[in-house]
Amino acid sequence: MKGTKWFALAAVAAIVAGALALTGCGSSTPAADTTPAKKAELSGSLTIAGSDTMINLAQAWSEKFMIDNPGVSVAVKGGGSGTGIAALINGTVDFADASRAIEPAEAASIKSKGGEAVTTVVGNDGIAIIVNSANKVEALTRDQLGRIYRGEIKNWKEVGGDDKPITLVSRDPSSGTYTFLKEKVVGKDKNYATSAKLLPSTQAIVDEVKSDKNAIGYIGLGYESASVKVVAIDGVKASVATVTDGSYLLSRPLNMISNGAPKAIAKAYVDWILSAAGQKIVKDQGFVPVTK
């Protein structure tokens, strides 16, 4: 009986001590925190939706920004460039992330509601062409790549590889990356071969190229991995360096689209993204920073 009583007392003491320690910490934090919060305290919330290519990047930005500015909350959703822009048109988000440019029809619907779509380029992405690591082919020309994806070249031996049929791996038609490659390589008025596998994500493309010896695929630079081989296009291999200096053919801008020029916290957020700190995150995520 006595033992239990003592135990209870000890437990209460421990809890009280713990609580004291916590409050002690709490009261000491603001003192230590005054230095970073030097400029005017930002507060409010931002909602962002859009591109799945950019989702990891957008998350990383929002997390860092919220740590630096505790008064601000930034919510990021994926769903695709089109979904993001539709949400912008409906006025439910502050920014739409888009890995493609806004379509004229979309810009027109914003205009019809009395707004104006403003695009800010917040980073660049290189599209790497990948093959299985067992594939002998090291380089392709843009023309060869186009013919491969149109289904005109069907065998690896035609481009210096083994006598094996080519398996085409692609994203699905509404992906920004699909459209990008179509315009740059396949041809504006031409189409991908019907035999192309239209996979739902970039990671699925990497996995498929890894497991199929005869496959060719395209991925964002951030998804590059040692398990697949990057092929040089027109003699240049995709890398952060070749995208930055503009020598690599397949690179595209990553956009944040707003209704009207960003104001207040939205402006602070974009300015921060374009600053050295924001662009460092672009690099960390495997994308290419914007050069000004």
Binding site: G79, G80, G82, A105, P173, S174, T194, A196, L198, P200
Partner: protein, 294 residues
Amino acid sequence: MAFRRAAETVVRVLITTSGWTAIAVLAAITVFLILNARQAISVVGLTKMLTGKLWYPTSTPPLFGFLPYIVASLRATFVALLVAVPLGVAAAVYISEFAGRRTKEVAKTIIEFMAAVPSVVYGLLAVAVAGPLVKEIFNLTSGLTILTAGLALGVMAVPTIVSISEDALHAVPDELRQGSLALGNTRWQTVQKVIVPSAASGIFASVMLGLGRAIGETMVVLMAAGNTMTLTWSLISSGRPMTAVMAGEMGETVQGGLHYSALFVVGLTLFLITFVINLAADTVLERQRVRWRR
């Protein structure tokens, strides 16, 4: 007393409203699909979409033929039925006629649990387990085929088939069972010649519902079917069922655009197919119910 009567009225109104809400929601879905699909139907033409072999929504001019996708849905569903019907019906017969009470309870619980596994998990299993196996067996370069996806769909349709078939078998009046045994038939003969034929319409309905489940499933086919536009009846080549088209493309389209509307036409087609299947299953089930009521 008055209070009781009032309470009863309230409950009755609530239940009636719920019932009508379900019907209203179904009607609203149909109207919504038709409204959104109208643009593509009038611009492209329904026959051209249903019989066209090329789907290039982002090219100029865009092409919206989705015959290869309808065929892919049918191919995947066919494989699913090949797997699910024998497995499901056999399991139902075992549970209803042969298993002891303990086994019966355990087996039913496990099969119900199968229905609770999220479809994305089945998709992962298809990609990671069935894919490499199919690739190996048929000596293919890639394991992402209709067969791979269909196998997973088949496993997913099993719970539907088992539970409804089992109900149908259970509903066969015991007199038939007893009578058959009394005439000197063995248990297997009884099952084969008396029970299963008597429950045939219920079993058929369960297969139809399982089919509806398989044809409408999205995640598994999106992950495992390989998604090519090739028009073929081969089961070991890849394909892109209708559900995969919608799930894959809806996210990035211009909302309200022609492509968006065309995806609704695909949705409407699928909705009509599953609606007819369910209706057929229901009619057959109802017929059996009426028969046993006599």
